[in-house]
């Protein structure tokens, strides 16, 4: 019988030395966390720098502002001519567009959040008021979170326009917070599709003879101004606001005069309107 083998002591385990290394997940997670922090910082900056929405004017104060901008003397408009406005009006062809009262129709489509629409409503109101009378206009301002935030303006959402020369039809698609407001009819949408190929707003169609989209001046001209301050600035023909707004109004007026066969003569026969009409072709 062989002797049982002596119990061997266990072989020493090899020395194991922990090597400290960064776990593989740390770097990507740290990168994501850093980027997330930056995005949060951007949101905080945005929140702090977003100006509060101005309170719309009362009905009486609104009427005063509208009365002020629609009673400018013809000489004030004449003195500005096209001013600093960018003539965006293009000649278009199509079946003449007639409004609900049988007059040539001026069709507008925009939205209350849109700063370019906000800018363009001032000259639209001034120009159209030379052919008729608005009622139901309300003050509002463009989106607080868009470019050119809180641009002071009016809204056509509840406005009516009466005229013996021209019909005005408007669609404000959303409010200043981009909630749905009004929808174009299929016929109106067809006009937009046909003539507003870029899809920009505001879009204005003058009886299917002329059309434009976008704003004729940059809304920063109105930045930080109250409705009353804008109205006051129009009394000075050399002010940036007068050059932009009245210049745009004259361009719009000239296009409407083309629709109405230069009626009324008191509006359409002015030298500046006639000069612009020649350029419109």
């Amino acid at each position: 019988m062989s002797r049982p083998a002596a119990k061997q002591p266990p072989a020493p385990r090899p020395m194991r030395k922990a090597v400290s290394r960064t776990p593989s997940w740390v770097v990507p997670v740290a990168a994501v966390a850093g980027i997330a922090l930056l995005v949060v910082a951007f949101l905080v900056i945005r929140w702090y720098t977003t100006p509060p929405a101005p309170t719309p004017l009362t009905v009486d104060a609104t009427q005063q502002v509208i009365a002020s901008i629609t009673s400018l003397p013809a000489t004030a408009l004449d003195a500005v001519g096209a001013g600093s406005a960018n003539n965006l009006i293009k000649k278009v062809s199509g079946t003449p567009l007639t409004g609900p009262n049988g007059h040539p129709e001026v069709f507008y489509m925009g939205a209350e959040y849109c700063p370019y629409c906000a800018a363009e409503r001032w000259p639209m109101i001034i120009a159209l008021s030379q052919f008729g009378t608005f009622s139901g206009l309300q003050t509002t301002s463009s989106s607080s979170t868009d470019v050119y935030p809180n641009t002071p303006t009016f809204t056509f959402r509840s406005a009516t326009f009466t005229s013996q020369y021209v019909d005005f039809v408007s669609v404000e698609t959303t409010d200043r917070n981009q909630n749905p407001l009004q929808s174009p009819t299929s016929a109106q949408q067809a006009l937009v599709t046909k003539y507003d190929t870029s899809g920009s707003i505001p879009f204005v169609d003058f009886g299917n003879r002329y059309a434009f989209d976008g704003a004729m001046y940059l809304p920063d001209v109105l930045s930080g101004l109250s409705w009353q301050a804008v109205a006051d600035s129009l009394a000075q023909s050399t002010s940036p606001q007068a050059k932009a707004i009245l210049g745009s109004a004259n361009l719009i007026t000239a296009a409407i005069c083309r629709l109405t066969a230069d009626q009324p003569a008191t509006v359409c026969s002015s030298s500046s309107i006639q000069a612009i009409e020649q350029k419109l072709g």
Partner: protein, 142 residues
């Protein structure tokens, strides 16, 4: 290797998005994108930041170039050219810095988010994360 395959896929997906946005910019095709108080692709891509330095070249054209190079780098690494790892990291770093600038513009300047742009930004982030050097994890040596 699997991560580089993912980087290659992300590069190609980003290339597709960038090409789509560039084609829309130069055509009359409407941009497929919902519009609400936060998401508004039209507002972002038609803003002054939607083009490079006031030119007529859309920002998405830079995206085409970036994603194309990213895809090539990932393909090279997949083929075993490990010396491209640093180039991928540098290129991805340029991309992520640019994305942070664009996100700043969207959130702070414009207050609107373009979902197509955000998808491209997410792909840049993914490629950046793949390109980052990694530790080997805790290990035990004898």
């Amino acid at each position: 290797m699997r991560l580089q395959a993912l980087a290659l896929a992300a590069g190609l997906a980003g290339l597709g998005i960038s090409i789509y946005l560039t084609v829309v910019h130069y055509s009359t095709i409407p941009l497929a994108c919902p519009a609400n108080a936060v998401i508004n692709c039209e507002q972002v891509v038609t803003s002054p930041y939607g083009v490079i330095g006031g030119s007529v070249i859309p920002t998405s054209a830079a995206g085409i170039a970036w994603f194309a190079v990213s895809a090539l780098l990932a393909a090279g690494l997949l083929a075993g050219r490990t010396q491209l790892a640093r180039a991928q990291l540098g290129w991805a770093a340029i991309g992520i810095v640019t994305v942070l600038g664009l996100v700043y513009v969207e959130i702070v300047r414009l207050g609107a988010v373009c979902i197509w742009c955000s998808a491209a930004h997410a792909l840049v982030l993914l490629i950046f994360l793949i390109a980052l050097p990694r530790g080997k994890g805790n290990r035990v040596t004898s």
